[in-house]
């Protein structure tokens, strides 16, 4: 009996170590860390709605503490691909979502119902009527590569969670941005974008 138990123990230990090794080769550690880093506010039952207006930031605002490089004393830079996209379009929108995130799905479906986006959040794109001026990227914040971009745009005071919607524009050669954690009423979001497109960008937008 005892010998059999030891045999099973050795077998399970070996299986456990093999599984760990094989999953690590599949990037499980980075994947897990990325998932832990992004807080699921929807599954907390805390899904923030913001009623305040949109304030576009030229520099990182006071209280910003999101990205690793900022904590190390460096000012994080906008990714190159976003800067390139801003040279082509007036507005770039980053929509960060997460697996199983109910509010993300709700916001995306709301934007789709308004005819602002098409497809699902997995393969989403801006609707044709808006595509001339706007680039939209729907990004899974749990994917390590996008997780790094997510970190750059965490709004003050280091508030994390999905959905997170980031608006970027280029005004007078300067990149300005705003990001909001939590569900954003699709009508308000679309209205904000339309106001920016009609020339109110660069200041306080209600």
């Amino acid at each position: 009996m005892r010998k059999r138990r030891i045999l099973v123990l050795v077998l399970l230990l070996s299986l456990g170590i093999s599984l760990l090794a094989a999953s690590i080769m599949k990037d499980s550690l980075n994947k897990t860390r990325s998932l832990v880093r992004v807080k699921c506010l929807g599954c907390l039952g805390l899904d923030p709605h913001r009623e305040e207006g949109v304030e576009l930031w030229g520099a990182y605002p006071e209280g910003y503490s999101g990205s690793e490089s900022w904590r190390e004393g460096k000012v994080p830079e906008h990714p190159e691909w976003i800067l390139k996209e801003l040279d082509k379009k007036r507005v770039v929108i980053l929509f960060f979502w997460g697996e199983g995130c109910e509010p993300c799905k709700r916001q995306w479906e709301g934007m789709r119902d308004l005819g602002f986006v098409e497809g699902s959040e997995r393969d989403g794109r801006i609707a044709e009527g808006y595509s001339e001026n706007i680039s939209l990227y729907s990004l899974d914040a749990g994917v390590p590569e996008y997780g790094k971009v997510y970190e750059i745009y965490i709004p003050p005071p280091g508030e994390v969670g999905v959905p997170m919607t980031v608006i970027l524009i280029k005004a007078g050669g300067e990149v300005m941005w705003y990001s909001r954690v939590g569900y954003w009423e699709p009508e308000d979001l679309v209205l904000t974008i339309e106001e920016i497109l009609t020339g109110e960008e660069g200041g306080q937008n209600g």
Binding site: G16, K31, V36, C40, C43, G45, L46, E102, E159
Partner: protein, 403 residues
């Protein structure tokens, strides 16, 4: 030990960054300051990754299984007994009257609880959020204790009435009949918000009503209402946790959500409430799962005081995941029948309601070693890889310390 584990679980409060580790116990990664992943949450995320292919699923599920097999082979279900903060909370509610709290009067506890809560009125931070939450639960625990353990009818009645009043206030706030306190400091506004009044109302009213019912029951039936005697129903109730565990993956797959995480009461305890305390402005809209979570949290509290380790016995899916590992683990409680004098101390001390003489290291055993501590003849011994971990002089049964 469990307190240290709890503090390590929320190391993000002092600036520790998110890690790739998995908590070997039930703790929500969405808690303020959480630094690791929850095993149940890993199962759900693994299932939701299925659209990316087998590799993506394996990265999470394979990693989790590897951790479970490795730690399980070493410690069995020991993390439930030695590390789990939820177990700690349940132990706290059970031992509210044991040392050092034994000598404390109820009003001492009430003052202590308020001392935890009040600082959040002056300054809001993650650490204070946890302290306030701890104080909040102490207050509820105190009221439940007075109501159920001490059979103080007034305490249960007060708890129920205050809970119902808070729920009514929440409804009035929602309807706009009364206005919430709007000025700073922000936690004050939170205390008078629709969400907080509703949440606390449920947390008070549900256990209060349960206490009233149990007191009434005791008076009618002449039995102690504190210990909800499950008797033969234990056989039916204990497998529920396996059913919950097995349903998690299919539910996530079908609904496309973190189905269990969205409503689980532990998230309400260790994540939702502390978050609300330190960031009360986080949410102003209609909650997606808030009320289900709040109701489940209330039910959890009621269960925690009516059945010792009731969550672990009947509902915890993580306990169900660990339990098969008890069969082979290196950490073991062993029973030597020749030394046993059948004093029954081990049976009375077991938080899981087992008879350690025949059920030590069964699927239900959490290897907490409370039976080992009370055994006067060392008939029960805690061993790791065959080496005895407890060395102490034998005690007489009459003079034995029951722990």
């Amino acid at each position: 030990m469990q307190m240290t584990v709890l503090l390590a679980s929320i190391a993000g409060v002092v600036g520790v960054r998110a890690t790739f580790l998995i908590y070997p116990y039930f703790f929500c990664p969405a808690s303020p300051g959480a630094v690791a992943a929850c095993p149940i949450w890993m199962i759900e995320h693994g299932v939701l990754e299925s659209h990316r292919g087998a590799g993506a699923v394996f990265a999470l599920i394979g990693y989790l299984l590897g951790v479970i097999l490795l730690l399980g082979a070493l410690f069995g279900r020991g993390s439930c007994g030695w590390a789990c903060p939820v177990g700690f909370l349940q132990d706290g509610l059970k031992h509210l009257r044991s040392t050092p709290l034994k000598r404390m009067k109820p009003h001492h506890l009430a003052v202590l609880s308020l001392a935890f809560i009040l600082p959040t009125l002056l300054y809001s931070s993650m650490a204070l959020g946890y302290l306030a939450t701890f104080g909040f639960y102490m207050l509820i625990g105190l009221a439940i204790h007075q109501g159920i353990r001490r059979r103080k009818f007034w305490a249960s009645l007060l708890l129920t009435i205050s809970g119902v009043a808070l729920i009514a206030l929440s409804a009035l706030l929602r309807a706009g009949v009364v206005e919430a306190y709007q000025t700073s400091p922000r936690p004050l506004a939170f205390f008078t918000s629709v969400e907080f009044t509703g949440f606390t109302g449920l947390l008070a009213a549900l256990p209060g009503a349960a206490a009233l019912f149990l007191t009434y029951w005791r008076r009618r039936a002449g039995r102690d209402p504190f210990t909800l005697k499950m008797g033969g129903k234990e056989r039916i109730a204990r497998p529920i946790k396996y059913g919950i565990l097995l349903s998690i993956a299919p539910l996530s797959y079908v609904t496309g959500t973190l189905a269990f995480t969205d409503v689980d009461p532990i998230g309400g305890l260790v994540a939702t409430l502390p978050t609300l305390f330190y960031q009360p402005e986080l949410w102003r809209g209609n909650p997606t799962f808030f009320w289900i979570k709040a109701a489940n949290t209330g039910l959890f509290m009621a269960l925690a005081v009516t059945v010792y380790r009731g969550w672990c016995r009947y509902l915890c899916p993580l306990g169900a995941l660990w339990s098969p590992m008890n069969r082979i683990s290196l950490l073991r409680i062993e029973f030597e029948p020749k030394r046993c004098i059948n004093c029954g101390l081990c049976v009375r001390s077991c938080p899981m309601g087992l008879d350690p003489r025949v059920q030590a290291m069964s699927l239900e055993c959490i290897v907490c070693s409370k039976c080992v501590e009370v055994c006067p003849t060392e008939a029960l011994v805690l061993k790791f890889a065959g080496r005895k971990l407890t060395e102490r002089p034998l005690r007489s049964v009459a003079g034995g310390d029951e722990g």
